[in-house]
Amino acid sequence: MKKVGVLAVQGNFSLHQAALESAGVPASHILTVRTVEELGNVDRLIIPGGESTTVGLLLKRYGLGDAIQARAQGGMPLWGTCMGMILMAKAIEGRDQYSLNLLDITVKRNAFGAQVHSFEDEVQMTGVEPNLLGVFIRAPIVTEWGSAVEPMGWYQSKVVAVKQGKRIGTSFHPELTTDTRLHQYFLSL
């Protein structure tokens, strides 16, 4: 059976591990990924929420970023939530910071403002029905996207979920809810 990795450099990787178990993946098939070697053991990867500046620095410093790019370009399914989507973006508005350039999108960080503006509300989805509850924490939005990118989630007409081949990015955190449909969708890619 295929192994699912969760990037465990920094952030809330443990909640993604729990959500994958709830989605039916046996615990023995859920692996944390901190190094290039550990990436070699998994067939798909989730990049969780966390701080993009912190994780970006560490991905760059230890070559793990290059390894993730190579695997993703070779067809490995990849899903980034919140920080994960920022790290997968081609460009970050107003910031010159490291990213993997695996989604042809521009993101705006902290698009809703500081933590006091964090919220949860319904996200309009295509591909996953019915709509999802989106938990947005200092969340980014997608402000531009290329022709290969398919927007798949909206909140108040802002794009908050995208798909490009076997790669998806979401502004919000399904792993903080008990709804595992998006995890199941990712496992089907």
Partner: protein, 303 residues
Amino acid sequence: MATVLNGKSKTGPNTWREKVGLAEMLKGGVIMDVVNVEQAKIAEDAGAVAVMALERVPADIRRDGGVSRMSDPAMIQEIQQAVTIPVMAKCRIGHFVEARILEALEVDFIDESEVLTPADEENHVDKHQFTVPFVCGARNLGEALRRCAEGAAMIRTKGEAGTGDVVEAVRHMRTIMKEIRRAQSAREDELFTMAKELQAPYELLLEVHQKGKLPVPNFSAGGIATPADAAMMMHLGAETVFVGSGIFKSGDPAKRAKAIVESVLFKDEPKKLAEISKNLGEAMVGINCSTLPESQQMAGRGW
């Protein structure tokens, strides 16, 4: 505009889930004390997951004595404008108006901190009344659960701030983890008495018994000064570390900050830790906690 989704009703902006959620996102990282924009940028560039904006680091608060209060809002705002990572700030224990001011500034987390002079010797802030999340210090499980009952979304050990001596943070983390294991292995009918002994709410103790961990993320602070200190606290159960005076009171702050960030990631690899710990320059000059008179200890503040 409450909508119901999957059986859950929307409770508006900043529910409990978002407060604890931000604490979750900060796991596996380092939160650094900074006193100006320049230090905040060094911290962000080194890979800090958040900064704590304050006018004086604990080592200077100790040196200067007197009453220590919330920082100047102008200084906090400058730091908010300078970095993209979350910015935290401290209010005095029980000082709910300082907390309201920090909330109005839209800081991302408030630390109701024993490092500042307490404003109330009986009551802490009722943190449930705020949209901004709070972190509070604790020395043991009872204190941690009392703070959770008041609405803290993150707990940290108190340690003995501003000393560069990790011994108190170790004592507090070991005590909390030992008491969690005791709660976990207790029979359910023993929890009522245990709650009484710990002076903790029964419902929260029951949650600890069921989950084997605190109801909110468990971080560590107080006296952490080296990469080895940070890695040890992670091994003892901390999910993230706060470094106060340890970075900017050392010889080469940028290098030490980077090293402490890496030590948290590589806590299980002694060879990497050896590399990381090389040539960091002078560590902060420490104060041995056992020589501190009781009147100068901060950890005892909070009730």
